[in-house]
Amino acid sequence: MKARPERWRAVVTYLQVAPLVTVFGAFLVFPIVLITVVSFWDYTEYAIVPDFIWRNYAEVLASAVTYRTYLSTLKFAALTWAITLVLGFTVAYFLAFHVRTLKWQMTLFLICTIPFWTSNIIRMISWIPFLGRNGIINSALMSTGLVHQPLEFLLFSEFSTVLAYVHLYTLFMVVPIFNSMMRIDQSLIEAAGDCCATAWQTICTVVMPLSKPGIAIGSIFVVTLVMGDFVTIRLMSGGQSASVALMISNQLAYLQYPAAAANAVVLLIVVLLIVAAMMKIVDVRKEL
């Protein structure tokens, strides 16, 4: 008599999980399997040929361009991660501990999302009249006499690329860190104060460790977004820098699907390794 409701409960659980499993299976697992399969196929100028060859991987892994591109993509990811982390942590800290009322916290938080009200592409393009040779910044600097030649490095450079990434992705850092900070028991901060800890000591020994899950989640967002980007890098570097995803998109354009698939599988593995390393440092689930 007891077994039936339990079995019934098991069925209900499976039913509850089913929609998510179906969606993930159809739109995540299946495409990845397909990409992996195609990455072993052969191709010609105008057709892809089912086969089992390692040539695509050999070409990806033997090419110096691959390593140079990965290096530059990783460099962009690291720079963006470091800057967004500092910015995101500061903003979240200010929102969580310096703004007193919930009403203002929410208001200021919404203000942080304003850049997301316009499309990604428009946000990037609007940097051009701002940073360009005849742009606002250069005109201002020239008219105040600070510089005599327009600063060329402001646009179509690594600087502008990182700037755009930071502009686009800082919010992805702010949100999870803010979320973690809001869960910190206020009495812990007070206790630290009672023990004569300075504000800096409180941040380092209390707030930072307790915000680790937020930092980890934000880092995963930022790093995976930068690793997979091919639009920002092209527009902001003026097409003069490459990224791994841009390499894949070029291969797709030349009908080299299997080569692109092999490249995508390698990128997926690299990103998964990075994410795994982050999860190793911070157990997100335990600390949530």
Binding site: Y46, R68, T69, R133, N134, L155, G239, Q240
Partner: protein, 436 residues
């Protein structure tokens, strides 16, 4: 849906064939009448039976001009479903999805990839009424009696097929044609004359005077040819055929370009039309490889821009309409009718007014004013303001077209857009250059 039903109906029904034959006859008769009207510039009667047919067309060039679809609907009753794609996507779709289109608007260089796939149906030149009037660049490989440059994928080399089922190009004229030309042009460098001054050679693109202010287009198959024009004029590299380079020639070209890139010669690379316009109007770039309508777009924003005639000549390109392998029956008749209509003058005038060239010049001329014809085609100063097809003033009275008359510009073509035998190697080297 209706379209598919009709097709299957014909296939199933025994009377389908005879009905189709009858329709063909009717179309031919009507076409003759239409052809006569067209030459006089007033296409009045077109075949009636092709009304309500829908043709799916996709491509790069003329496929994003909705006015042409609207006019075709008005004159022929045909509905054109147009889709504009970038060049890589056109090749991709033509090769992988032959059933997804009826008419393709393809560039000639793409044919080297599309024709071997067997997805293109050879066109019967006898059904093209004005075939003899098509500019001989395409039909004979010459212009005004002089042979046209054959470096790269010159249209003449890929215009004819050896038979009605063929996947092989024929060197000599045959009855079977790949594409009926729609638009073509001669490309060169665009400059800001106010910031650059006078130049007369492709080598100026890498002149250190313009360091940090130059740009080249980042579509490898076209960019490499612009690069080759530059390297050749600098005397750095000698080419057998710029449109079909050897590995060694590719290496040398990319070496020159990579050194220039590392020295900071380029401000940016561009991939789309808008990017090239923005780079020029914002003053980020003062000299770059450019497309003709982009020059017009820069000028229409009040920024001076010149499409300079250079002594080494132009890099030319051409596009045309072809038929899908899957096309048959009434739809095929409609497609032929559409192509005949295309050559009959209205479209030609429309395209000429945008600064392109059209396939049959005399019918286009009949649809343009003498002043328009003089400005666009004969290199004469405009008598009054020159307007684009949408009525916007493009040039003030007195202006002369950059590079001059049709025969001067097209006669000075040095090479054609192409796909090389070493394409894969070239793409790889180009990607290295971008990542360098």
């Amino acid at each position: 849906m209706a379209r598919r039903d009709r097709q299957s109906g014909q296939r199933r029904g025994g009377t389908g064939l005879s009905r189709r034959k009858m329709l063909k006859g009717a179309a031919a008769l009507a076409g003759v009448a239409a052809g006569w009207g067209a030459i006089r510039g007033f296409p009045l009667i077109w075949a009636q039976n092709i009304k309500n047919v829908t043709l799916r067309q996709f491509g790069t060039g003329v496929s994003n001009i909705n006015e042409i679809a609207a006019k075709a609907k008005e004159d022929l009753g045909i509905t054109l479903e147009m889709a504009a794609l970038d060049s890589d996507a056109v090749v991709q779709r033509a090769v992988t999805q032959p059933r997804s289109f009826d008419v393709i608007d393809s560039e000639y260089w793409m044919l080297a990839k599309i024709v071997p796939s067997g997805n293109l149906q050879p066109m019967d030149t006898e059904k093209i009424k004005l075939f003899d009037k098509i500019v001989p660049i395409f039909t004979k490989g010459e212009l005004a009696g002089k042979p046209i440059a054959s470096q790269g994928t010159a249209p003449f080399k890929v215009s004819y097929l050896s038979g009605p089922e063929s996947k092989e190009f024929s060197k000599m004229p045959t009855r079977w044609f790949t594409l009926v030309p729609t638009i073509y042009n001669a490309d060169t460098l665009g400059i800001r004359p106010d910031l650059v001054g006078k130049i007369d050679s492709w080598k100026e693109l890498l002149n250190p005077k313009f360091k940090g202010k130059a740009s080249i287009l980042n579509i490898s198959s076209i960019g490499i040819m612009d690069a080759a024009m530059v390297c050749e004029s600098m005397g750095e590299v000698k080419y057998g055929d710029k449109g079909n380079m050897t590995k060694e020639e590719i290496d040398k070209t990319m070496k020159v370009l990579t050194e220039a890139k590392k020295a900071g010669q380029f401000r940016a690379f561009w991939k789309t039309f808008d990017e090239s316009v923005n780079l020029m109007t914002s003053g980020e770039v003062v000299i770059q490889s450019m497309w003709s309508p982009a020059v017009t777009a820069v000028r229409s924003k009040g920024v001076p821009c010149e499409y300079v005639a250079l002594k080494e000549g132009y890099r030319a390109w051409a596009a045309g309409l072809g038929l899908s392998k899957a096309l048959s029956g009434l739809e095929r008749d409609a497609a032929y009718e559409y192509i005949n209509w295309y050559l009959s003058g209205w479209v030609g005038a429309f395209l000429n007014r945008q600064g392109y060239y059209s396939a049959v010049l005399e019918t286009a001329k009949a649809n343009m004013t003498a002043d328009e014809w003089g400005y666009w085609m004969e290199g004469k100063p405009a008598q009054s303001d020159i307007k684009d097809p949408f009525g916007k003033v493009m040039e003030k009275a007195g202006a002369v077209r950059d590079g001059g008359a049709f025969e001067t510009r097209m006669g000075a073509v040095a090479c054609w857009n192409a796909v090389m035998d070493e394409n894969r190697y070239m793409v790889q080297k180009w990607n290295e250059f971008v990542a360098a």
